[in-house]
């Protein structure tokens, strides 16, 4: 089993990386691109087991450590 966690900056938080990437894309000729948000992707390998139990534990880990709720949002999939 594997957990896939995506962490992105909250919309209200200044994201200079995303803005710079968006500007570069525009300059390369990819016209009409909207805002870009640069985040993080984590893959966590898990032993086979109770998926819901892992979801609860990793949700806790995301909230307390892997993301900072002041500035980031996260989403998680376990498959």
């Amino acid at each position: 089993m594997k957990a896939k966690i995506i962490i992105t900056p909250k919309k209200a938080v200044l994201d200079p990386q995303g803005k710079t990437v968006a500007n570069a894309l525009e300059q390369m000729g990819y016209k009409g691109i909207g805002a870009v948000h640069v985040g993080k992707y984590l893959e966590i390998e898990l032993p086979a087991g109770d998926k819901e139990s892992w979801r609860r534990q990793l949700d806790d880990a995301c909230h307390n450590f892997l993301s900072n709720p002041v500035i980031e949002d996260y989403s998680m999939e376990i498959e």
Partner: protein, 236 residues
Amino acid sequence: MNFAVLQFPASNCDQDALHVLKNVLGHSARLLWHKDNSLAGFDAVIIPGGFSYGDYLRTGAIARFSPIMRAVQAFAARGGPVLGICNGFQILCEAGLLPGALIRNRSLQFRCEQIFLKTASRDSPFSNQIPEGKILRLPIAHGEGCYFADDAALEQLQAGRQILWQYVNAAGAQTDQANPNGSLRNIAGICNQARNVAGLMPHPERASEPILGGADGRLIFESLLSWLQNKPAQAA
């Protein structure tokens, strides 16, 4: 007074802080390794700058789980003064001892330069000896010093006079141009509601002797000393 200067893997301003406290100000100070777990006998804690644990994941995110940080939490809860400088400020925010977070500079550049600060509140253990209206000149050296907090938290900081220092220009005007990193409300340093925990991005320990080009930073350490010497005796 007896100061603890914390040392994490990749702290790099620890010796500077130790030097100022011991050799410039003539007090007792000792380095405490991140695996230490007691602050018994110390009057104040300095969390110095650097790149603790490589700043992996986020600045300060890993350091916050060090054994010594549990002792810092308890020390702060008892009213003990804690000052975080640069990476130390980032660690205190991650640890929840200070509100908000420090994110990548608006310019995306590591900024290493002299900046000017105004003291927004002199009512704290860290700013009480700074003369009214004095503009401080201090160095900064950081890539992630852009202070962020949501609107409600900012209002609370303002209402509680928890904003201690703000970036200004040489004339003391709080302009966008004087803001080196994009911090909201030009915030360079704050304290908690109880006022005994503070953090700032500029480096007072690198500017506490004229030979280093400026001694304004010394006022921050002298504030802390004055507060410690004058506070009513209390059980540690």
